[in-house]
């Protein structure tokens, strides 16, 4: 049987994709499917010949006839049409449908803000600093979550996880450990209740490490609580922003406690989460310090969330600088991956995982879908960053969330509603970026974060190159991502 071919008069043109090179080969990242294909010489030549616009198939075949057999070119055109890298330009392509879930999605992660108080006074903090959403000092919410509310949050998490056999609770703050007693009793209660309803439950928390007493460390290790430490790097960087109320830095207090935690708590990998600012942009130095000197297994970096014009906000030039540093460190990750060694740059790992699965996101994250945040009084919001904000409230842990509100949110935040993103090749992986960042920057959660588009495209391109390189030279390394669910980051 002869293979199907495209009629010679058909005008074919390029559709949406981003091409990149790795390990001496050319690859396509297709948009919006997020599929990654490697090209051979013929398919690469066909794409190049169409770079200046659509052309009839016979024209194309003639041009390439000196280099490739016409049957080969015909087959290639069919294959490129199959994966939607090419299309018949006379047939209009259907827009990607805007599909909204018909019923509530099971909750995967509930972030419980057990307190909105903190023993540090980091100047850039989104909860306390200049860009805060909720007044945690004089507001209506209790400063600490009560045991009763925490138990209701557990019930909410178990109930809303619906058919999902797993539930996950992340404790957050303020400084989470300022309400350690409630956290401790809640974990005991949640384990009991989960066993009763036949579900698995696990826990994690984020802390600034200053309150990690030996008994706390013991408890976290025994209960296998996942721990993320907020820390900005070596002493001089940590102490720039992460300070106590009186302005003294927190490094001297935090560092020995972190070492004690890492020495005792071996049941789950412990990661550091770094906030990058204009003043602390030395990524490699921070990484080296946190892994080699303190002993963290993984380090994740995130630029500070801020309104433009703040002293610590990263400028456009700063983002370029940041990207080149990320690329440097990502190079180390690649070297390690090719030798099957662990490397703890978690930003690369997370992006590789998403690229490996080929997720094409309709929403930038799980907020308001599989992830929600609870404030100290039991109000449920999109995520922990909005917990306590009436404007972003979806319900309460006692009465549940409103499906109408959730639907409204899903309608107005779908990638199809973000006009600016429609021409961007990175939209399957970015989908407009963090709602909280958009709210801080532009005053609205449904705006795409246009201030870091270049950064996202640059970083995604780098991760694609790394992905292609590993896929070609050490494909077994990628197997670790095969069945793994992509976890939600909480920071």
């Amino acid at each position: 049987m002869s293979s199907p071919s495209t009629p010679l008069g058909t005008r074919v043109g390029l559709r949406e994709f981003h091409s990149f090179e790795a390990a001496g080969r050319r690859y396509l990242y297709l948009v919006p499917s997020a599929a990654v294909f490697a090209l051979d010489d013929c398919s690469s030549a066909v794409l190049d010949s169409l770079a200046n616009g659509p052309r009839p198939v016979d024209d194309l075949t003639n041009e390439l006839s000196g280099r490739f057999d016409s049957v080969e070119v015909g087959d290639t055109i069919v294959e490129l049409q199959r994966v939607r890298a090419l299309a018949d330009t006379t047939v209009s392509t259907l827009p990607v449908p805007k599909i909204i879930p018909l019923k509530a999605v099971p909750l995967q992660t509930l972030v419980v803000n057990v307190t909105n108080q903190c023993n540090l006074a980091c100047t850039y903090c989104y909860e306390y600093g200049e860009d805060k959403i909720v007044d945690t000092e004089n507001g209506k919410q209790p400063k600490f979550m009560t045991e009763d509310t925490a138990r209701e949050a557990v019930e909410f998490a178990l109930r809303e996880s619906r058919e999902n056999p797993h539930a996950h609770i992340t404790f957050f703050g303020g400084e989470t450990l300022m309400n350690f007693n409630v956290l401790k009793s809640t974990i005991g209660y949640a384990r009991r209740r989960a066993a009763e309803v036949g579900k698995e439950i696990d826990f994690s928390l984020t802390t600034n490490a200053t309150l990690l007493r030996p008994d706390v460390i013991e408890f976290l290790a025994e209960e296998r609580v996942g721990v993320t430490i907020s820390i900005d790097g070596p002493e001089e960087m940590q102490d720039k922003f992460r300070v106590f109320n009186n302005g003294t830095g927190s490094y001297a207090i935090a560092a020995p406690k972190i070492k004690a935690l890492l020495a005792r708590h071996r049941s789950r990998p412990i990661g550091a989460r770094v906030t990058l600012t204009r003043q602390t942009l030395d990524v490699r130095k921070i990484y080296r310090h946190l892994t080699d000197e303190l002993g963290f297994w993984e380090v994740g970096f995130a630029p500070v969330t801020t309104a433009p014009g703040r002293d610590y906000a990263i400028s456009d030039g700063g983002f370029d600088h940041l990207l080149s540093q990320f690329r440097d460190l990502a190079g180390d990750f690649l070297k390690a991956a090719l030798e099957n060694r662990h490397h703890g740059f978690s930003n690369v790992r997370e992006t590789l995982q998403e690229l490996h699965h080929g997720h094409a996101k309709a929403y930038p994250c799980g907020a308001g879908i599989g992830l929600m945040g609870v404030s100290t009084d039991g109000n449920v919001a999109l995520c922990h960053r909005f917990a306590g904000s009436d404007e972003h409230k979806l319900g309460t842990v006692q009465d549940g969330v409103s499906w109408e509100k959730q639907q409204e949110f899903l309608q107005s935040h779908h990638i199809a509603s973000k006009t600016d993103c429609q021409s961007c090749w990175a939209r399957p992986i970015c989908a407009g970026g963090c709602y909280h960042e958009a709210h801080t920057r532009y005053g609205s959660t449904n705006r795409p974060n246009l201030h870091y588009c270049e950064w996202i495209r640059g970083w995604t391109h780098t991760c694609l190159e790394i992905y292609g390189e590993i896929a070609e030279r050490n494909p077994d390394f990628l197997r670790q991502f095969d069945d793994e669910e992509v976890p939600e980051k909480v920071s």
């Binding site: 990654v36 080969e72 992905y467």
Partner: protein, 114 residues
């Protein structure tokens, strides 16, 4: 595929679901025309509300055919005495409508049955 190699998991799925590319290339099937109770149009008897393709041009003529079909064949709830239940002999004297149409009389409610 020979010229493209799927690399990530999504690409493998794209390759799997587009295997039958010839079928995918076919223009979509014409949708079924709306279902219309075609009635007597099967025996070529114009005078119905829609023809077999759903068209409405040139209906309800000639009036004689409409009258006879409603009386005999299709029991359409028209303003015509129906043969099956109430007026079995209404057209008994009308062998050819063109010639005998005057013999079809009016029917009045049966006084005795009241």
């Amino acid at each position: 595929m020979k010229h493209l190699t799927p690399v990530n998991r999504k690409a493998a799925r794209v390759e799997a679901v587009t295997k039958d590319f010839v079928a995918l290339q076919q223009p979509p099937q014409q949708p079924e025309p709306p279902h219309i109770p075609n009635g007597c149009s099967l025996v070529f008897s114009p005078g119905w509300e829609a023809d077999r393709n759903g068209g409405t041009a040139g209906l309800c003529q000639p009036v004689e055919r409409d009258l006879f079909d409603c009386h005999m064949g299709c029991f359409w709830p028209a303003q015509v005495p129906d043969q099956l239940n109430h007026a079995p002999d209404w057209t008994a004297k009308c062998a050819a409508a063109q010639k005998d149409w005057r013999k079809i009389d009016l029917i009045f409610p049966d006084e005795k049955k009241k």
